[in-house]
C-alpha cells in the first residue's frame, strides 16, 4: 500500500503543478516557459499515440506524423480555406485524421511488425511529398498561417486561445481528457484484448480474438490521438506546415515514448518533457544542443532500458517489495517477434 500512496501523492503534486503553471512559472522563471509546457503537453499527446500502438498493442508505427498532419491541416485549412469557426475546424481535423487512419490501417495492420513499421513510413512519406507538391494549398515546407477564431462566444464577448492562460488551460484540459480516456481504455475489456494481442497474437487468435479487427481499432484510436495533437498544434501556433509530416517527427515521438517508458501511462509524457526541456535549456546556452540530446538518448536506453517510468517501477519494487501492477512489459525489451 505504501507504493500506492507514494504514487498518488506524486500524481497529486503533478496535477497541482500543472494547474498552477500560468502563475507559478512566470513568477519562478519566465513567461516563455508557459508556452514550452503547453508544447510539451501537445507533443506528449502525440507520443501517447505512438505509445498506444507500440506499448499496448505491440505495433511499432513510424508514421504517426501522417495523422498529426491531417489533424493540423484539417484545422488550418478548415479555418483558412473553409472559413470554419473553432469547434467545426477542430472536429474536421480529428475526423480527417481518424479517416486517414482507418483507410491506411485497413491495409497496414495485416502486416507483421517489420513490414508494418516500414509501411507506416511509406504512407507518411507519400503524404508528406503530396503536401510539399501541393504548395498552393498547403504552403509546403513553409506552411500556412491563419488567424485564430475564438473558442467560445457569449454575451458578445469572445474567449480565444490568444489569451495564453486560457490557451494553456484549454490544451491541458484536452490533453488530460485524452489521457484519462486512454486510462479507461487500457483497463477495459478492450484494453486487455490489446494486451493479449501484444503479448502473443497467435494465442490471441486461438482464444477467439479477432486480431486484425482489434489492431485496426487501436490504429484508428491512435490516429485520433495524433490528430487531436496535430489540431492543438495548429491552434497553438496558428500555423501548419508539411515539415511536421516528415518521418523525423514520427521518429522523435517513438524515441520520447521509449525513453519515457513504452507501455506505461505516463511514459510518453515523461519522455517528451525530458527531451523538450533539455533541448530548451541547453539551446539557450549552447548551439550544439543536439549533441546533448543524442547522448541523453543513448545513455537512457543503456541505463534505463524499460524507460524512465520503468526505472521508477523497479525502484518502487525494491523499496516496497511488492510486485508491480503496471510495469513496462518485458516483451518490448526483447527482440520483437517477426
Amino acid at each position: 500500500m505504501r507504493r500506492r500512496s507514494i504514487e498518488m501523492a506524486l500524481a497529486a503534486a503533478g496535477a497541482a503543478f500543472l494547474v498552477t503553471v500560468p502563475w507559478s512559472i512566470p513568477a519562478l522563471i519566465d513567461n516563455f516557459w508557459v508556452s514550452v509546457i503547453t508544447e510539451i503537453l501537445i507533443w506528449s499527446l502525440f507520443a501517447a499515440s505512438v505509445n498506444l500502438l507500440f506499448g499496448y498493442v505491440g505495433l511499432l508505427s513510424f508514421g504517426q506524423a501522417l495523422y498529426f498532419g491531417f489533424g493540423m491541416y484539417g484545422v488550418a485549412l478548415g479555418i483558412d480555406r473553409l472559413g470554419l469557426s473553432f469547434w467545426p475546424a477542430f472536429g474536421l481535423g480529428i475526423a480527417a485524421a481518424m479517416t486517414m487512419a482507418l483507410v491506411s490501417g485497413i491495409f497496414a495492420v495485416r502486416l507483421s511488425w517489420h513490414y508494418f513499421a516500414i509501411i507506416t513510413v511509406v504512407f507518411s512519406l507519400i503524404f508528406y511529398f503530396l503536401a510539399v507538391s501541393m504548395k498552393p494549398l498547403t504552403g509546403g515546407d513553409d506552411g500556412i498561417n491563419f488567424t485564430l477564431p475564438p473558442v467560445f462566444r457569449f454575451d458578445g464577448k469572445a474567449i480565444g486561445l490568444t489569451d495564453p492562460t486560457f490557451q494553456y488551460f484549454f490544451v491541458l484540459a484536452v490533453v488530460s481528457l485524452c489521457f484519462f480516456l486512454m486510462y479507461r481504455l487500457i483497463n477495459s475489456p478492450l484494453g486487455k484484448g490489446f494486451l493479449a494481442i501484444r503479448d502473443n497474437n497467435l494465442r490471441a487468435s486461438l482464444i477467439g480474438l479477432n486480431v486484425y479487427a482489434l489492431r485496426l481499432i487501436a490504429f484508428v484510436m491512435a490516429g485520433c490521438l495524433a490528430g487531436v495533437s496535430g489540431a492543438l498544434f495548429a491552434f497553438f501556433g496558428r500555423y501548419a506546415s508539411a515539415t511536421y509530416m516528415f518521418y523525423q517527427v514520427s521518429g522523435e515521438a517513438v524515441v520520447w515514448t521509449i525513453v519515457g517508458g513504452a507501455g506505461t501511462m505516463f511514459g510518453p509524457l515523461v519522455g517528451t518533457a525530458l527531451f523538450i526541456v533539455i533541448r530548451e535549456i541547453v539551446s539557450s546556452h549552447w548551439e550544439h544542443h543536439s549533441l546533448i540530446v543524442g547522448l541523453l538518448a543513448i545513455l537512457s536506453v543503456i541505463f534505463a532500458p524499460r524507460g524512465i517510468v520503468g526505472l521508477w517501477n523497479s525502484w518502487m519494487i525494491r523499496l516496497t517489495g511488492r510486485e508491480t501492477v503496471k510495469k513496462a512489459p518485458s516483451r518490448l525489451t526483447l527482440r520483437a517477434e517477426p
Partner: protein, 259 residues
C-alpha cells in the same frame, strides 16, 4: 451412432515438396477421449494446425460436428468452440495469471467493451476465481505468466482451455516437460474434463495415453497407420514396428495397458 465430432475427407497438406498430411480421412466419435500418437514428423501437430485454421489445407475438407470448417480463420473456429493448447506452452507472458484467464473468458464475446472497467465484470471474475481453484493456481494469480514454472504454465493453459468452455478441446502434448506429480494432476484434470467436453490429445507419454484414451489413432508420415482401442493398438504389429520399435517393447506396452 451419433455424428462424429471431428471428421476429415481426403485432407492433404503440402509444404513445397513435402507432404505433411497425406489424404487423411479420419472420423472421431463424440464422448470418447481420442489420443493421436506417432513418431516425430508424422504430422500430428500439423493436423491440429489444420483443424484450428492456422494452416489451410492443400486439398480436402474438415468437418466439425457436421459443419464444414475448411479454410475458416482461426478466431472463427475458436468461437465455434474448438480450443487448443500448443506444443510449446504459450500464454500471455506479461499479463498476470488471473488476467490470462480473464481475457480468455472475455474473448467469447463478439464485442470487447472499451468503456467499462474490466474489474467490474463480476461474472467473469467469478469464473476466473473458480478456474484458478480448479487448476490450483490461486496463489499465483497476480504473478505475470511469463515468470511461472513450465509445469504451472501448462496448468494455466489447461485452465484457459477450461474457462473458455470449449466443445472440442485439442491438447498438444499437455504433459510434455511435467514432473510425475504434475502429470498425474494433469491427467486427473483431463479425465474430469472429458465428462463434458470432447477431447483429442497428442501425446508421447505412453503411460498417459494408455491411461486415459478410449481410442488411439497412430499417425505415420501424414497418414493413419492404425486406429482402434488401446488393446488393438498394442497388438498391432505395424504400430510396434513403425513406432514403438523392437519386439522387446511389447512387454512394456502390455505392462502399461494393464497398469
Amino acid at each position: 451412432m451419433s455424428e462424429p465430432v471431428l471428421q476429415t475427407e481426403n485432407l492433404t497438406k503440402r509444404f513445397g515438396g513435402l507432404t505433411a498430411i497425406d489424404n487423411l480421412s479420419i472420423s472421431l466419435s463424440p464422448a470418447r477421449i481420442h489420443a493421436i500418437i506417432g513418431p516425430n514428423g508424422a504430422g500430428k501437430t500439423t493436423f491440429f494446425n489444420l483443424v484450428t485454421g492456422l494452416l489451410s489445407p492443400s486439398s480436402g475438407r474438415i468437418f466439425f460436428r457436421g459443419r464444414d470448417i475448411t479454410g475458416c480463420r482461426p478466431y472463427v473456429i475458436s468461437r465455434m468452440g474448438i480450443k487448443r493448447t500448443l506444443q510449446v506452452k504459450s500464454v500471455f507472458p506479461d499479463l498476470n495469471v488471473a488476467d490470462n484467464l480473464w481475457i480468455t473468458r472475455q474473448a467469447r464475446n463478439r464485442f470487447l467493451n472499451p468503456f467499462r472497467a474490466a474489474a467490474g465484470d463480476r461474472d467473469t471474475r467469478m469464473r476466473v476465481e473458480q478456474t484458478l481453484e480448479q487448476i490450483g493456481l490461486t496463489a499465483l494469480a497476480e504473478r505475470p505468466a511469463g515468470t511461472l514454472s513450465y509445469g504451472d504454465v501448462a496448468m494455466l493453459e489447461i485452465g484457459m482451455a477450461l474457462i473458455s468452455e470449449p466443445s472440442l478441446l485439442l491438447l498438444d502434448e499437455p504433459t510434455c516437460g511435467m514432473s510425475p506429480a504434475e502429470t498425474s494432476r494433469a491427467v486427473a484434470k483431463i479425465r474430469d474434463l472429458a465428462h463434458t467436453i470432447d477431447i483429442v490429445i497428442i501425446e508421447h507419454d505412453m503411460d498417459v495415453v494408455f491411461g486415459i484414451a478410449d481410442d488411439i489413432t497412430v499417425f505415420a508420415q501424414g497418414a493413419i497407420l492404425a486406429s482402434g482401442n488401446p488393446a488393438a493398438i498394442v497388438d498391432d504389429e505395424r504400430v510396434l514396428e513403425a513406432y514403438l520399435g523392437r519386439p522387446e517393447d511389447e512387454d512394456f506396452m502390455e505392462e502399461a495397458l494393464n497398469a
